[in-house]
């Protein structure tokens, strides 16, 4: 088994095929999209491949240490940040091929006009524990 992170971006991914902002969809299209996402996660729970999924609010803050006895410095949010993560799903699957298959299904979530969004999802393998048997 191997764990993969499916990353969804607000910004930073290549442009989706069906790239219409959500507030330009019909209310029913939004409902259908939300249901598709929920059903997808529920199905992976049933197959025993779901680990975690979270969605992130669009605005965040950058924070860094500013020296002994001083409060941390904060900056942002930056409207021009190129890469902005919207959320993730962690899956635990048998193969890279299976991970690609699932990411493809998630990318087919319906959008404007009820047609698949074809959005680009980023697929990243987790580092694993070192194997016990090494030779």
């Amino acid at each position: 088994m191997a764990k993969y992170l499916l990353l969804k971006h607000y910004r930073g991914a290549p442009k989706a095929v069906n790239d219409v902002p959500m507030d330009q969809w019909t209310p029913q299209e939004i409902t259908d999209h939300v249901r598709y996402m929920g059903d997808f996660a529920a199905r992976l729970e049933k197959t025993g491949e779901y680990v975690d999924g979270q969605a992130l609010a669009p605005e965040g803050t950058f924070v860094r240490y500013d020296g002994e006895g001083r409060p941390p410095v904060t900056d942002g949010p930056f409207a021009e940040t190129k890469d902005l993560i919207a959320g993730w799903m962690v899956i635990d699957v048998d193969s890279y091929e299976r991970a690609v298959e699932l990411a493809g299904e998630l990318s087919a979530a319906p959008g404007a006009g009820g047609k698949p969004i074809h959005e680009w999802l980023e697929l990243r393998p987790f580092y694993t524990e070192p194997p016990t048997i090494t030779e």
């Binding site: 330009q24 209310p27 939004i30 609010a57």
Partner: protein
């Protein structure tokens, strides 16, 4: 076996152990062990006196644990003789436990966790599931909380307001996992109301019942939010409403108004309207004025602006809104709603979309985006 009955005995049993001289942290562990044992044994061999059974088993567990701990050997001599059961001050013990678990030295999250375990009788695993954190994390939070209050004297009177704050937080969390936190909060508040005669405890209980009554109507079958005005009022729980109103009226008659009674009064006025159009917004604005005097909370003034918009028209609502800090949570959503009522659909759609970007949960994001989409679809027709 009735799990709720079992859990309702928890604070009383724990109180007996603490009064016998057991320290709170060890007594709490022993009571949890006894609860687990009860779940195992009672279905086949129900006790005649459930509380007495729990006290006996918990006390034995406590002694075993104390003996096992070599460092506590000295204390063993003190506690080995089981004291004769005296008159049981069950009610006072329960109340003291609420105070202890909501002690001001605890952070809100610690107080919530400790209350659910020591007063509610939930297991660490159930609490962890309800708050979506790993069990080990919740176990640590609870044991740190117990250490924090270990020096607090059990018979010290506490502040009811801190207890109410904790119960309010539990109620507001909704639910996940196999424990319904809203139901649990109502149970704990009911138990508190039985232990102490206090109008604000009654006010909070009424507030919870009146909001809980709307739960079935609050979400559509697809999980989306249904705002108050669009809810099917036939699906409201009329028994919970009747109980909430009765409790509230008795509390208000005492003439010691507090914020929870005022909030419950607003919820009662909504419950009283057969349709959204028949809502008595003028009276609701008056209650918000009362509430603003009691709490001076910006959230109250934001909600008041909505009520003003309904009572005196959207322009009046927007004027009330203009006086508030626009960085308040939901400020943009309220502005969107009032502009829609005022007929400016373009501005409203833009504000709804903006509000969706600021919302703190996915259900609200979807709801606000849907509002924007609805208006955009109307405008493009």
């Amino acid at each position: 076996m009735d799990e709720l009955l079992l859990r309702s005995l928890t604070p009383g049993v724990l109180g007996v152990l603490v009064r016998r001289g057991a320290d709170f942290a060890a007594a709490e562990d022993a009571v949890q062990d006894a609860l687990v044992e009860a779940v195992r044994v009672w279905p086949d061999d129900p006790p005649r006196d459930p509380k007495g059974w729990l006290v006996t088993v918990a006390w034995r567990r406590f002694l075993d644990a104390s003996r096992a701990d070599a460092a506590r050997r000295r204390r063993e001599d003190v506690v080995d003789e089981e004291p004769a059961p005296g008159p049981a001050p069950a009610v006072d013990d329960t109340l003291q436990l609420y105070f202890l678990c909501a002690h001001p030295s605890l952070t809100a999250s610690s107080a919530v966790a400790l209350t659910l375990r020591a007063v509610g009788g939930l297991t660490t695993r159930q609490i962890a599931q309800a708050y979506l954190v790993p069990e080990a994390t919740m176990a640590q939070r609870i044991s740190r909380a117990k250490r924090t209050v270990s020096g607090v004297r059990f018979d010290q009177p506490g502040d009811v307001a801190t207890v109410l704050r904790v119960l309010y937080l539990v109620f507001n969390e909704g639910y996940s996992g196999d424990v319904d936190l809203a139901v649990e909060a109502i149970r704990l508040t009911r138990q508190l109301a039985a232990a102490i005669d206090h109008p604000e405890v009654a006010g909070l209980l009424a507030l919870m019942l009146l909001h809980h009554a709307r739960r079935a109507a609050r979400t559509a079958p697809d999980g989306s939010l249904v705002p108050l005005a669009r809810q099917d009022r036939g699906r409201w729980d009329t028994r919970a409403i009747a109980e909430g109103v009765e409790i509230l009226q008795a509390a208000l008659a005492r003439d010691r108004l507090g914020e929870f009674q005022a909030q419950a009064a607003i919820a009662a006025l909504h419950a009283d309207a057969p349709t959204a159009e028949e809502t008595d917004w003028v009276q609701i604005v008056e209650w918000y004025d009362e509430l603003a005097r009691l709490t001076d909370s910006p959230v109250v003034r934001l909600n008041r602006a909505v009520a003003v918009g309904e009572a005196d028209g959207p322009r009046a609502g927007l004027a009330a809104l203009a006086a508030l800090d626009d960085s308040l949570p939901r400020h943009t959503a309220v502005a969107a709603y009032l502009h829609e009522r005022d007929g400016d659909l373009e501005k409203a759609a833009k504000l709804y979309a903006e509000a969706a970007g600021q919302a703190s949960n996915l259900a609200e994001v979807a709801h606000l985006t849907r509002q924007a989409a609805r208006l955009n679809a109307l405008r493009s027709r």
